[in-house]
Symmetry: C2
């Protein structure tokens, strides 16, 4: 299971600006953590982790940073049931498989050449802007 991105160390340079968003120190560090941790961390997970490098950061700021990054399409916000929101730097269209025995969340890609409209009975005229697929279950011991 991939939980760390070795291409994204604590020293990786992050540009001053990404898609029109000013990358302040706080946003950089929050973003860096999401690139490193592929575990779908919650805001609080990020908060605890980011304090290593920015001891004075506040939880509200982490929320603000995450919101700004989501709004600018730099990361994705993912919700399972009514649990705390989780955040994800995988921008490829994908769903999530929630393994109930371990609690681990796996990204699930679409098979190539699949069109959602071929699979679902969409209401006539529906223009889909965003899809969210969540699966829950177990992984059989191999």
């Amino acid at each position: 299971m991939v939980t760390q991105n070795p291409d994204f160390s604590a020293e990786t340079e992050i540009p001053e600006e990404i898609s029109g968003l000013r990358m302040t120190r706080q946003r950089q560090e929050v973003y860096r953590i999401l690139m490193q941790e592929r575990n779908h961390p919650t805001a609080n997970d990020v908060f605890m982790r980011v304090k290593d490098r920015l001891p004075n950061i506040s939880l509200a700021t982490v929320y603000n940073c995450l919101e700004a990054l989501v709004q600018h399409g730099i990361i994705r916000q993912v919700n399972f049931e009514r649990e705390s929101s989780r955040y994800c730097s995988n921008l490829q269209e994908h769903g999530h498989f929630h393994d109930q025995s371990t609690g681990v969340i796996h990204d699930v890609g679409f098979k190539p050449g699949i069109n959602l409209a071929d699979v679902l009975e969409l209401p006539p005229g529906a223009l889909v802007e965003d899809i969210e697929i969540t699966l829950r279950g177990k992984i059989a011991a191999s």
Copy 2:
């Protein structure tokens, strides 16, 4: 758009017990509302509606009833983002299309003969127990 189920009036008899759950007066009335209102009401929506017939019911009871009904597979709980949970008496496997211009939620069935495993790159050995599909977008004027 179907929002009311005419087969399910306020006078419809509901059995004493459904799939092992004792159908108390409160549970009956909560269930009745979900059969009537196909709008995916929140707990609070149900609460306000049910007070017509049970003026002394409490919101906690509505939550308890909804939870009991969900647990026994009689209704489904549906979550959009981190909004209040909504409840749904459509037990057929289906997803939801959230029309962002009107706020209306449409049930979306699967086309016959579709197998999710044909569409998604599931992790090896994954045994899917539950699927949740949410779409967001608009409906083009016809």
